[in-house]
Subunit: 280 residues, 2 copies
């Protein structure tokens, strides 16, 4: 694979799963973990996700040839500032953040010119969090979006994509802007909607919730701090996605008229067909 | 159980599953199926969901002591008219419709005074349809709402509730109005939202859809004709639920402001906690 010392900054669900997967698939590599809570680091060591634990980002990245930011995106500015002086010349830095414009801009501004940054978004996760739910197969067959810019080193990009492939992922390249626009539509808005759908229910309605409601709102149980960071970071695109949905709802509400029954059927059938064409 | 000849009008997923469950749990009873397509009836016979097949509702209900309407609610008026003359004195009629005000009103108006109608809504189903996906355990541990009115015969209500319990269901009683109001919020709106969420996505966004999007939109693949009937029948309550969601979205959009980060966290955390308290 070409990386021998890999630093994982943040050993929660994603960071922990990367460590577990590497121990299975990249036996030579040494995995270094950083976390700000001692218990999390201890647990990550016990579970075999990391080989070495640091509670200081600079110590964790020293001599690493690959550094992966796995903390919530809101913590990236401080993390990048603290680790930068300790980065080895030629090190490659990537991340697992759910937004890409601000992350890439920040990393390109704060990291020294002697290292290469490649933005990544491995689309794997769960509404659960923490190293306890980490799994070596979390990334199998999931999609990883890489977001190169004009400044991205082509060789670094290639190596980062190889890294995710080794963990079982498929790769799609998107500019940071396209990433954030499309993810606002297909990921951030659905999360906000699920939360709104739960928030509006009185308890007498929740008592009647069936499988459909459970499926539709499962993501609403996600970590509030993590999603706050994503939403605020991508708020311009998310606002646009919310407006697109408002237009769809207006269109739908206009179809709630017996005189337009055929149009309502057409609208519902088109959505059903579109959904059926995706995986279950 | 007390019913010896049970007519199932409409042998799709729900009707077929009732037949399969009865064959397991009410061995003495004879199960009569009505459908307007010969192939469906043949398939229901082959799968062991029914003992006898009719393509005429009157023939199917003759001498039955329990009749269950399992076709889409939009077909109920015609079905009730056609079967009414053939109903035995003292027969109990119930249904599996997803709306209750119009169904109960219609049944109480159209059925002869010699039979008892009890509105039911067994909350089991799937985005798939047809007798092919019917299962004897479809109702296990799911909720069935019965919707008695001032005209409902107490003994008939009791017997219908016992019937659903025998199929493994839990029972909740709600007035037709409360049923329709709460179901608009917790079932009909989520379905409309899932369809809107799918409808607004460009294909480049759908290509990035992950597990969260799949879960959130699974119900959008439901049958268009079935949901059109439900939506039009319950449109006043659904419009109110859409408006409640619009208010939630406005509230959410107002929180997309770094100055209100704490309020956004509070809003998300409240929704996450509320969702976590439900089953997974």
């Amino acid at each position: 694979m070409g990386f021998s010392r890999i630093s994982i900054l943040g050993v929660g669900l994603l960071g922990g799963s990367i460590g577990l997967a590497l121990h299975q698939r990249a036996k030579g590599a040494r995995i270094i973990g950083y976390g700000h809570r001692r218990e999390t680091l201890d647990r990550a060591m016990q579970l075999g996700a990391i080989d070495e634990a640091h509670d200081d980002p600079a110590g964790a990245v020293r001599e690493a040839d690959l550094v992966i930011l796995c903390t919530p995106v809101g913590t990236f500015p401080e993390l990048l500032r603290r680790m930068s002086p300790a980065l080895a010349r030629g090190a490659i830095v990537t991340d697992v953040g759910s937004t890409k414009r601000s992350v890439v801009e920040l990393a390109e501004a704060l990291l020294p010119p002697t290292v290469h940054f490649v933005g990544s978004h491995p689309m794997a996760g769960s509404e659960k969090r923490g190293v306890e739910v980490a799994r070596a197969d979390l990334f199998d067959n999931a999609l990883c979006i890489t977001s190169p810019t004009g400044q991205t080193d082509p060789d670094g990009l290639e190596r980062v994509e190889q890294f995710w492939k080794q963990l079982g992922m498929r790769i799609t390249r998107l500019s940071p802007m396209n990433h954030d626009r499309l993810l606002a539509q297909v990921s951030h808005l659905p999360h906000a909607l699920a939360a709104a759908l739960v928030a509006m229910q009185p308890s007498e309605a929740l008592a009647l919730a069936g499988k459909g409601f459970m499926d539709a709102t499962r993501i609403a149980a996600g970590d509030a701090g993590l999603w706050r960071d994503i939403f605020l970071d991508n708020r311009d695109q998310l606002e646009q996605a919310v407006n697109q949905l408002r237009h769809q709802l207006d269109e739908f509400a206009a179809l709630l008229d017996p005189a337009r029954a055929d149009d309502l059927t057409t609208w519902l059938a088109a959505a059903a067909r579109k959904r059926e064409q995706l995986a279950p």
